[in-house]
């Protein structure tokens, strides 16, 4: 840089002149600015040394950094924090029956929140988001609605827990060989009339129902038996399809009967599947119960005494 001077002030300039007389002074940047620059330079070096920064392609590796930091380790540390928060609830869940969990407001609230993910991952595929059921035009309801108060295998917390643990398989034989088309039509009309509360108006169908194997599973009052999962035919809820055609198809081809046109009703055994832990299954049972359809144990004393009692006494 050659020594140039401003004509007016005599100050040293860079020598560049714009618009005839506009020149740049060679003033030093402020001290604080230079200090900042030096500090930044030092920071860069420290940063490079502390963190993994230099790839070493020849060794198929990289310089690990003196801080030994890695994204995975940081993530693991963070998940540890989350687990610590959940831990106090999860530890309690391990030793409690689902009924005892329900009796504890805090735990129930925890399960209602954490169960959402479990339900979404494992149950919603068949039962729909929030258990609203999945329907198709061709096959009707694929899996039962879980929000309502109608339960094929029982709506008590212990029943729900058993269902999830062991799975369920519906069974109804096909009747297209044992009943005539007319009989199937009659009995279908009778069953629909039952649901609408005017069962006696279909005398022909009632005669078929009472004389055939229907009563064997659904009972003479047609209210079904939860022990074997036969549906209550007198309520307004249909497991598959409540239209006349739909009911006729169920009667003619059965459920899980092996016939190609049969209804399919299989809930897998989640314990055997091994994907869910004991706690997960308990959580899901409480979560499903809390959709609104869960039925209280009657009488309340029926809560398995040996495990639930200490929890209750402690409250």
């Amino acid at each position: 840089m050659s020594e140039k001077h401003d004509e007016v002030s005599g100050a040293t300039t860079t020598g560049h002149v714009w618009d005839e007389d506009l020149a740049d002074f060679t003033n030093q940047p402020p001290r604080w600015w230079m200090l900042g620059l030096a500090a930044s330079a030092i920071w860069v070096v420290v940063y490079w040394l502390y963190y993994p920064s230099v790839p070493l392609p020849a060794a198929n590796s990289y310089f690990k950094g003196v801080g030994n930091w890695s994204a995975i380790r940081e993530m693991e540390a963070d998940t540890g924090e989350v687990d610590a928060v959940r831990g106090k609830y999860e530890n309690k869940l391990k030793d409690l029956t689902p009924a005892a969990i329900l009796a504890d407001n805090d735990l129930t609230e925890y399960v209602k929140r954490s169960g959402k993910v479990l339900f979404g991952d494992n149950c919603a595929g068949c039962h729909g988001t929030n258990g609203v059921g999945v329907k198709s035009k061709k096959d009707g309801l694929f899996a039962p609605v879980l929000n309502d108060d109608d339960w094929l295998y029982g709506g008590k917390i212990s029943d729900i827990h058993t269902t999830i643990t062991g799975g369920r398989q519906g069974m109804m034989v096909a009747h297209h060989d044992t009943l005539s088309e007319q009989q199937i039509d009659d009995v279908a009309k009778y069953v629909i009339a039952l649901s609408e509360g005017r069962g006696d108006s279909e005398a022909a169908g009632k005669a078929v129902f009472m004389s055939s194997d229907c009563v064997g599973c659904h009972g003479a009052d047609a209210k079904g038996m939860q022990a074997m999962g036969s549906a209550n035919l007198t309520d307004k809820i249909w497991r598959f399809d409540g239209s006349l055609e739909g009911v006729k198809r169920t009667i003619a081809y059965g459920v899980n009967s092996g016939d190609p046109k049969a209804r399919i009703a299989i809930m897998p055994n989640f314990k055997e599947a091994g994907k869910l832990s004991e706690s997960d299954i308990k959580k899901l049972a409480v979560y499903v119960y809390k959709f609104g359809g869960g039925q209280a144990e009657t009488p309340p004393a029926a809560v398995p005494a040996e495990t639930a009692a200490p929890a209750k006494a402690a409250k």
Binding site: V8, T129, N130, V132, V145, N147, D148, D149, D150, N232, D235, K236, I237, K290, G292, G293
Partner: protein, 479 residues
Amino acid sequence: MSNNTDQKDAGNVTEIYQEFETWSVNLGEKTIHAKRIPGFFRNLKYITGSLWIIFFIGPFLRWNGKQAILFDIGNRQFHFFNITVLPQDIWMLSLLLLLLAMTLFAVTSVASRVFCGYFCFQTVWTDLFTWIEEKIEGKPPQRVKLDKAPWSFTKVRLKLFKHSLWLMIAVLTGISFSSWFVDSFDYWHNLLNFRLPMVGWVTLAMFTAGTYVLAGFLREQTCFWLCPYARIQGVMTDSQSIMPTYDVKRGDPPGKIRRDAGQAPDAQKSGDCIDCYQCVQVCPTGVDIREGQQLGCITCGLCLDACDSIMDKVGRPRGLIRYASLDEIEGKPVKKLHQHPRTLVYINIIVLALCGIIYGLTHLGALTLRVIPERQPLFITESDGSIENKYEFKVVNKTDKDMFVNVLAEDGVAGQIILGAEQPLLTHHGRGTSFTIFVKAPGANVKHEVTPIEFRIQSAEDPSVSAEYRSKFNGPKPD
């Protein structure tokens, strides 16, 4: 600078450069040691400044066994005597900020930077720090001498004493600030046992350092170059605002007083200003008010006291420097306050904001209720054909006790029953509680896809404590 005629020809642009040569900019190279002259505005500043005592003792006020005014950040509550404001009511804060901003604007448009001169923590703390400095190191000439003197035992002793007093005030400031946000007695207890949380130490350290540096060293530099309000207020004033002003017509040209001139009018070639520089010497920001209103002037009025005392001594009328508007000084007709539309607009906004805050504080209520209907599924058909809706209730109990509430519903569907609230439900005080409520109605009575329903929660003990929320009851599409 060699060719004066050239510069004259260059016109206005060059004038700016010429003005710049005589323009002194205070960049803080020299510490300003301002004189203290007693007077009306000096006393006024002592009185307004001492309002900040509230800042120190306010956190120790108790009310019903709790701190009267507490910005409880940890629990997200604001306590003001009887009133507890929760984050739900934070909209009032925006009105309060609006109110404060408009008050600042209105006052500034009427009487210029009153806040800067009399109330601002920066000028008040600086005033306190320089007062201490004067008590320890003496009057301005002695202070200048002491600064220049080589280090000696006396100098070290005086400086050490001064800085430790400054630091004590700074620490006390930091403690007092923190005490507005946590219980003050707890805070002192934790402080003395060295058990403050990290954020507490950081806040205390930052406030101590900030007070010490800003009031002890930066002083008027803060007003000149750091504070945005100095600039904002600068543009809020106009020719109608009154501010400390040098009466240029009466005072100029300044001239030294001559004893032989006497009171004869013909002998008075110069104006009333005797160029004594007292107004500059007392100025805490070191400006010369005779150059007109300027950025550095915080309108504290100390130069008025100084000038008046001199005018009394030389037997000329007071008020050479006085609170006056530019219009008045220039001899233009002085408008009344009601002829100042801008101020009226500010006052209107202030009144509106005030009404909003009063409405908010009188309608806080003890309970708030939000009801969120379940959206998937919108409704459930039960086995007996009835329709059930699920609702998430979010209740905030603003009282200081846990409360049991009953749930009721109005409108809705004939024959509906509420499930999930058979017993009164517990709501925790000072925070939100949520619970799930079901409403079940006979299917035959559900005539519409959507039926309005109003939920009400009321305290089990005192039904007048209640909150309502309008929601909807969903049903199937009618055939």
